[in-house]
Symmetry: C2
Subunit: 670 residues, 2 copies
């Protein structure tokens, strides 16, 4: 297609609207001297048709529970989304658009959920939005199965998205696509911006697969449409909406930088400003005024405003219907609120602690028991595993979610940790579920981009990671986490909790459920650990502090051993060993050391004692603990890869028996 | 298929051989009381046909360059591989098999490259082996293009592998499969153990896609064969070998735990011992003696031994041919040795330092310049990018590797960081290339499992990661690394180098090229940084120490600022600022602090000064630096997510201008 070639089946007003989108994006990128103009210019028509004829939204109420969701998985095209939000009437001004990519603006380089009204998820790292949308579509089906009634259906929304070549190359999108097909998510519609251009050049450099055939193999409906033929697009989207048993991929062969005489269909249009001359030439080619920049014709404003007006009756009827339905059927109304408010009992901590497992056992087993209790109290709590549920002990009562039956609470993600992460994020973002996902701790490496984005988006997601140290034993170094606890604690906003026994595991789950705007990761043992003897029951204050004194010293100038998880009972053994030789020892259990760091310094110092008498003990990399030990304390851990052997053999091998640790501390004390 | 149903088209001897494999695996798992018997029992026939009729190897010379490679991507089936290696005559005794999963044995829970002769790659984390095999097949094609001659072709080997449901669910395998199809790797043959069982139960729980159709869409030849019909298997493998322009996937509908009367086709057969009764019953069903365990009939030993004898003439001819060819054509002989010895000049450090860039500029640009020089000296150095080469500056002269033309040095991975990682590992493992891969630092999160396995396997791979801090600017927090430097330094064996200017970048590349048995990661800036003024030229000793004194103090009781990368010039500015106010300041540039930690403690202390006068400065999480600052020094960095803005605005926002840092230090000094 020649740059600026006339598009088909467009009214003059439609043409005006798509060029408005196009040049808002190009002008904003130019003003910022940074950004991605090509995608918005190429996909303006698709966005226009979708946002004015299909997407159901009310800009004054971006949180309307039954709104359709729009996911821009190709987050680098953020100016497309910002232009749409502004035109659609969301609280995003032309001034905001003019401050694109500037410090403190609501129009950052990539869309950020929570910062900009109407942005449903944070995108940019490719493939993530694709998976988030799958999670949102799944949440919609799951919520509908719980509340929709013959007389009123509060859940009727769909998920639409735009995905790029890059999204479809990322493995996480492949995983999520396979699951979307498996689950039969007919309420999910992705439009593929098939522009044949990547950063290195033509997509043919690295991407020659038959995408349509691949998605067909996943069980998707695959459609094609000319993205510049509005009638054809509309027809394809209608077909997509009509198929309610399969997700749809609408492939649109688009032209990046559409209308730019020298840069259309080139990689230069992708990630840098067009330049003033090229923008001027593009505007001339498309019959657009060169100045002023950021032009929005009144007719275009009116056209977009009409969409909100058109949807308004449906919006009002929905609210009236919901109110009447909740009055008629308080039981279902409660279910609705349990979900859309993600209700968690205010005393969840006390309740879980009161019923905590008190016997010896693996903390993964304790975790399973606590999860059952939590799930009984919190209907919004749903989750599953990346094919390790018999090991992670995370199955809830009742059915599994499967194609056509979405009323259950158990999700089977298959061996797809990364898609699981993106889908958990989507479930949380949708607004009706508190999702958990489980695997082995070492496999968080497969899902890190999703875990990080969850923290950035401040979403409540719980990760249940078992087999949390070399003491998983025989599976060996490929399965044994070393650096993982520390490198997960380093993700801003992610809380890692590694409980030592049943009560601490109850506390860990309670922390996760109390933290409404952040993800929490539970690290649980494969191997059995003793029930800790406590002078008094574990308190919620102890849990929330992240660390507490488990054992007081029997003498003066004591050493304080600060341990987590399966090393706490070792620390107690060390204490007995050393006290038998005349050295007083305190033991601090620190399941969540990150919380301790938020406490007043005097409180931390009182709990941990002087640095030259501190020893930390965790069966993993010592890096994290050096902040507590400094150059005078002693950090004991494992700073090399693990080994395949029974876990009792590994205790000796890595010097983590009470006897070996005690000997090491004696040596350090001199 | 009923448990133990008679297989078709097998000779009595073949049946004896497959049952030998089957029960060696089951007995070893039983003895270890841990492991995965089901896969070896189900795939014994496939392995037998492959290893006795197709795979070209010489057990006395596991490093024969022209051997076929065998990849067990489903690494949990390790006992299948160990049984094969023992039977085939590799240096792996029956005693080794009996010590399966025990401390210090050569038969760990999952296969570990470097520990066990004949194990081509470390597998277990699913999808990794799949990608490694693609890398090996690519390496084979690339080496063949460089050396194969009309009169002698030293490279004729193929890559065979067994992959599982779990492998095919993982996104990394999807990425790698798409690339293998794109590159037309007809020398790659994977057999898919389609056993319908995963850990949670039937694969139908989460995996209902049409795998064959998906691989067809990637451009693979897709074949099906009954895995218990040896003639059919042989026929399918012949077809697979015959197609030299497409990789092949041979789908075999197998039965996990084949022969176990109660556990065949159940998830129980997957990951736990069968139990003595069930093993006994399986042995009875298959006509196998119940005792002694670890039975190997002499005929079976002889049959496997024959394979080595059969291949021997080819092996001998290859060596004769190579010798004669190298004598005839010394030029090609040199190319051969440059690759199979991965030759790096002994003085690479001095040569790269001597020609280092000395101007101001982004270290990614310096990195590009140094890479050109290194590539001119090292023919085995090849690499590419996950679609970011124009940004990472990693393109070499000459052609790109594409389907049918493998002589170039530039690889295009598309937006597939994880597959890139596994393929880099495969290129390194193959034994003929020193591969590098590039992306943005934040996207190492997508490839962490591959990076970790590379470190575990001690392979020389170079990661070139640019855009190494918030100072990449406008792309915002989704693209800005915070915790990455620290969490990568925490991976045992991975060296992270963050140079500050041109000479340090040359040193960084030299370190990476000198480290023959470990991966190295270079963290480079997007933004321009000044050329540092040095009293004397940067020495190789400074580089190898990982840190050196860049600026001496002009007075007594100095503060020492230890900085990396783009913060080194800031530290120099701080020094000027503070010295103007009468506080002496030393500046240590520490591009590779991990190396410093390996130095004698006195040397470290002499370089860094007393802890209460130490300040560390890096635009990322401070975690890593606390080992140097303890509780008395000051670690300055960024412990929260980034922001979208021009990088100059971000310097102020994050308090990392010389003025702000100086003010913070003054405050700390009190």
């Amino acid at each position: 297609m020649a740059p600026g070639a006339p598009a088909r089946d467009q009214t003059a007003l439609a043409r005006l609207a798509v060029n408005t989108i196009r040049f808002l994006a190009a002008d904003a990128v130019e003003k910022a001297r940074s950004g991605h103009p090509g995608m918005p210019m190429g996909m303006a028509d698709v966005a226009f048709v979708l946002w004015t004829r299909f997407l159901r939204y009310q800009p004054q109420d971006p949180q309307w529970p039954d709104r359709d969701r729009f996911v821009l998985s190709a987050g680098h095209g953020s100016m497309l989304l910002y232009s749409l939000l502004h035109l659609a009437g969301y609280d995003l001004s032309l001034g905001d658009l003019m401050r694109f990519r500037q410090l403190g603006s609501r129009t950052p380089g990539h869309p950020e959920h929570g910062l900009t009204p109407g942005v449903e998820t944070t995108t940019g790292p490719l493939g993530q939005g694709f998976g988030n949308g799958v999670g949102m579509a799944l949440a919609t089906r799951m919520l509908a199965a719980r509340v929709n009634s013959p007389d009123f259906a509060p859940v009727g929304h769909r998920v639409f998205g735009i995905v790029s070549d890059g999204d479809l190359m990322e493995g996480v999108a492949s995983e999520a696509a396979s699951l979307a097909g498996h689950w039969g998510l007919g309420n999910l519609i992705y439009i593929y911006d098939d522009n044949h251009i990547t950063i290195e050049g033509d997509t043919a450099l690295a991407f020659s697969e038959d995408v349509g055939r691949r998605f067909d193999a996943y069980g998707w409906q695959v459609l094609k449409a000319d993205p510049y033929d509005h009638a054809a697009l509309e027809h394809a989207l209608e077909q997509a909406v009509a198929d309610t048993t399969r997700p749809s991929l609408v492939i649109t062969r688009s032209h990046i930088g559409y209308g730019a005489p020298h840069k259309q269909d080139t990689r230069e249009a992708h990630g840098e400003p067009l330049g003033t001359e090229e923008i001027a030439a593009a505007k001339r080619a498309l019959g657009w005024p060169e100045i002023p920049t950021f032009t929005i014709p009144d007719d275009v404003r009116a056209l977009f405003a009409q969409r909100a007006v058109d949807v308004r009756p449906e919006y009002d009827a929905w609210h009236r219907g919901l109110k009447a339905w909740m009055a008629r059927d308080p039981e279902r109304g409660r279910v609705w609120l349990d979900h859309v408010e993600k209700r968690v009992p205010a005393d969840i901590m006390e309740r879980l602690l009161a019923e905590a497992p008190t016997e010896a056992g693996a903390t993964r087993v304790h975790g399973g028991a606590v999860l059952q209790r939590a799930a009984a109290l919190i209907p919004a709590l749903v989750g599953g595993s990346a094919d390790l549920e018999p090991s992670t002990k995370t199955r809830l009562p009742g059915a599994s979610v499967q194609r056509g039956t979405y009323g259950g609470r158990n999700l089977h993600f298959g061996v797809r940790e990364h898609a699981m992460g993106t889908i958990l994020n989507g479930l949380a973002l949708h607004g009706s579920f508190i999702p958990y996902g489980s695997s082995f701790l070492v496999f968080t490496d497969y899902a890190r981009p999703a875990i990080r984005l969850c923290a950035l988006m401040e979403q409540q997601v719980v990760w249940v990671l078992t087999h949390d140290s070399v003491f998983l034993g025989e599976d060996g170094p490929t399965h044994q986490p070393i650096e993982h606890l520390g490198s997960l604690r380093a993700i801003p906003g992610l809380l890692v909790v590694r409980p030592a026994d049943g009560p601490e595991t109850a506390g860990a789950w309670a922390l996760a459920l109390e933290r409404r705007t952040a993800p929490t990761l539970l690290a649980l043992t494969r191997q059995s650990v003793p029930a800790l003897e406590r002078p008094t029951a574990l308190t919620s204050a102890d849990v929330r502090r992240g660390a507490y004194l488990l054992r007081a010293a029997a003498g003066s100038d004591p050493v304080t051993i600060i341990a987590t998880g399966s090393e706490v009972w070792v620390a107690l053994g060390v204490a007995r060993e050393l006290e038998a030789r005349g050295r007083a020892v305190r033991v601090v259990s620190a399941p969540a050391p990150q919380l301790l760091l938020a406490c007043p310094k005097t409180e931390v110092e009182a709990l941990l004692g002087p640095q030259h008498r501190r020893v930390t003990l965790e069966a993993g990399a010592t890096d994290y603990w050096l902040r507590f030990t400094g150059d005078r304390g002693l950090a004991i851990g494992i700073d090399r890869f693990g080994a395949s052997a029974p876990h009792t053999a590994l205790q000796g091998h890595f010097g983590l028996t009470p006897e070996r640790v005690a000997a090491r501390i004696r040596e350090w004390l001199g």
